[in-house]
């Protein structure tokens, strides 16, 4: 069934079709429509689930941890300050190996308060031990939430999964979305198993008491291995989805005209669409432009990124995020992946679009051109797109 849906509502429909039976959520712009829609689904009987309207995001993730440990298929959503507030529980959820799925409508952090699109929130938690997937359009939002449960509950993974969607560009913008039937989704996603463990009176075990240095490292190795296992599972899941629903997102990477490209923009999220349009325009001028949209931040697809970019002359990595003092987060991940190459491409980082600032097709055209020019000049210093410090003189 085709429906015109916002990104937020697409996430809610994804949770509905996944037969989520537990939601604990706290509102924050720009995620609110996700949790409002889910509340409506539950209150109208469409979704048979327990819904706790918790008193904070920290409690939202805590309630999901409790529920998931007891066997529920749990879902929540957050953004920005809410995500950072629940950060403690987020680390706890992954090391607890619980297959919770969370949608993040990525928003800037304050102060000053800003509700605009920015990826710093979710990327700041790339060390929290979750699988992190970024989407480009609303169809991918819906599909990815359902796929996320398949990935999360796979016995080789058993980890929570975050789905990142751009604030307003996706969360509040409506697009036509194909809503798969419940029967088809049920074929794809079986009910939750009792892995990795189940809190129940039949099982007198203790979870998570103290560890000594003798065991902690090994448990962390298990966690790390599980995140790395997610790579293959994501690829398998993408293929299974394609077989059933006819849609593929490339699994780990979405490669657009990269094979013969001389200059490639590497990006995450919805803005990649504008980069692709810009690439098309440049191609018409004879410049071999391409776009590499990284879908999965954790586990970071280092080998795959290396394979694609090894043939490219010049790489522009765009970061709608900031690690103050270091620069973009994606560019550091990409450079890390490229390090092993004997012959490395030229890489220039771009900080753009912080605090919801618009990034246009024209901006991307300029980025492609500037990258090629900088390659000639050997100038790989990071660039802040459209930076205008005079606005601070007002």
């Amino acid at each position: 069934m085709l429906k015109v849906l916002s990104g937020n509502h697409s996430a809610a429909f994804g949770a509905l079709l996944s037969r989520v039976n537990f939601v604990a959520a706290y509102p924050i712009t720009p995620q609110t429509q996700i949790i409002e829609k889910l509340s409506e689904f539950v209150d109208t009987g469409l979704l048979d689930a327990k819904y706790i309207r918790v008193e904070s995001e920290h409690s939202a993730m805590a309630a999901c941890v409790g529920a998931s440990a007891t066997g529920a298929r749990a879902f929540t959503a957050s953004s920005s300050h809410g995500l950072i507030y629940m950060a403690e529980m987020t680390f706890w959820a992954s090391a607890s190996r619980l297959p919770i799925v969370m949608a993040i409508s990525c928003r800037a952090l304050g102060p000053p308060w800003n509700i605009g699109n920015e990826h710093t929130d979710i990327l700041a938690l790339r060390d929290a031990g979750w699988v992190q997937i970024f989407v480009e359009n609303n169809q991918e939002v819906l599909d990815s939430v359902i796929q996320a449960y398949r990935i999360a509950e796979d016995e080789r993974v058993l980890l929570p999964v975050m789905i990142g969607l751009d604030a307003f560009t996706l969360s509040h913008t409506s697009e036509p979305v194909e809503i798969p039937s419940q029967e088809m989704v049920d074929q794809f996603l079986p009910p939750r198993s009792d892995k990795p463990y189940l809190l129940s009176p039949e099982n007198p075990f203790t979870f998570g008491n103290m560890s000594n240095p003798t065991e902690h490292m090994e448990l962390r190795f298990m966690h790390h291995t599980a995140v790395r296992n997610a790579k293959n599972v994501i690829l398998e899941v993408d293929k299974k989805w394609e077989a059933l629903f006819g849609r593929s997102y490339g699994g780990l990477l979405d490669e657009f005209m990269c094979k013969d490209a001389e200059v490639v923009v590497v990006s995450i999220g919805a803005s990649s669409g504008d980069a692709k349009e810009a690439a098309n325009i440049l191609r018409n001028e004879g410049i071999k432009a391409g776009v590499l949209r990284v879908r999965v931040i954790r586990p970071f697809p280092s080998e795959e990124v290396r394979d694609v970019l090894s043939r490219v002359k010049a790489v522009a990595v765009v970061d709608r995020n900031l690690s103050p003092g270091s620069g973009g987060i994606l560019v550091s991940e990409v450079k890390n992946a490229l390090y092993g190459l004997r012959s490395k491409p030229f890489v220039k980082g771009y900080i753009l679009g912080l605090g919801g600032r618009d990034v246009t097709v024209e901006d991307y055209q300029a980025i492609f051109r500037k990258t090629l020019k900088s390659y000639e000049e050997g100038d790989d210093r990071a660039d802040w797109v459209n930076l205008n410090l005079e606005v601070l003189d007002r």
Partner: protein
């Protein structure tokens, strides 16, 4: 006929050889909790002494299903567990066993939320009146005048009245208890397990290590707290207040032992001057005045 010791479950749900200090009231509380519910529970324990009493992975000293949780999160985790058990049509009590810090300080938000939503959990706060697990720092529950490592001249503020805060949420059951009166505590736990909604039990847990008294005196100090009227045993069932145990006969001030007897038994109060002792006694008096009013209302059957 009221509960007798010899009727209690002989099985141990807290196994010997655990890591608690000698004379530890938290260990006493856990042991009694097991016997109260026959081990039928999902136990939620935040960072606290009770975490350490379990010992280290891969072994545990508890024989009931138990999930360890971050400090601020107990009531929220318990809410998630309880709602899911409901979904599964399983009737198993979800019990939080948290310290005073994890309840009244960092854990208060989640507890208040759970109370307001009427989550079906038994929340037991074992109150050793400080952050004893991390080395005796002051908490909201540390009484006025008490020495701790962060109030070396004695705590200047009076303690937070957590049971009253929870009672103000209109939950169906709030009670205070003491490890020194185990049958009263067990009664209250069992009563809680038969009520739906948030049940709150505040368990007085005199700590030899933190309060500076010899380990053999734990029960004696707890008893003195009650018999001097410093710790009051009561329950509020659907808004109706009633005193329990020895506290019932202590409305008469003449029947209460001198508060000094309780204070002198503990090293953490040895620096008190007369003015401070006077203030402590005044606080005990004024609390009993309040209790007098609550008891009268309770007898008339008024509901909050």
């Amino acid at each position: 006929m009221s509960l007798q010791i010899k009727e209690l479950d002989r099985k141990e749900y807290l196994l010997p050889g655990h890591t608690a200090c000698p004379g530890c009231p938290a260990a006493m509380g856990l042991r009694l909790l097991g016997k109260a519910l026959g081990g039928n529970m999902i136990l939620v324990i935040p960072a606290s002494c009770a975490t350490i009493i379990q010992g280290a992975f891969p072994k545990t000293s508890l024989t009931v299903p138990l999930i360890n949780v971050p400090f601020a999160s107990s009531a929220a985790i318990a809410s998630g567990i309880s709602e899911t058990l409901d979904l599964q049509h399983k009737d198993v009590p979800v019990v939080v066993f948290a310290g005073d810090g994890g309840t009244g300080d960092i854990g208060l938000q989640a507890l208040s939320g759970a109370a307001e939503r009427g989550e079906n959990i038994i929340y037991i706060c074992y109150d050793n009146e400080g952050y004893e697990n991390t080395g005796i720092q002051r908490s909201c529950s540390t009484p006025y005048g008490a020495w701790t490592t962060t109030t070396i001249k004695g705590k200047p503020e009076k303690r937070k009245d957590i049971p009253s805060i929870i009672a103000a949420h209109g939950v169906p059951y709030v009670a205070t208890a003491s490890v020194s009166y185990p049958l009263d505590f067990i009664d209250k736990v069992r009563k809680s397990s038969k009520i739906r909604g948030l049940k709150y039990i505040h368990l007085h847990a005199p700590c030899p290590t933190g309060w500076r008294f010899p380990s053999e005196k734990t029960i004696e100090v707890g008893r003195l707290a009650v018999l001097t009227g410093t710790w009051i045993l009561y329950e509020i069932e659907y808004g109706s207040f009633r005193l329990t145990g020895p506290s019932r006969s202590l409305l008469d001030r003449g029947k209460r032992k001198q508060v000094e007897e309780y204070l002198k038994a503990q090293g953490r109060f040895k620096h008190l001057n007369n003015e401070m002792i006077k203030r402590i006694k005044e606080e005990v008096e004024s609390k009993w005045e309040e209790v007098k009013g609550l008891t009268l209302r309770g007898e008339r059957g008024s509901h909050l």
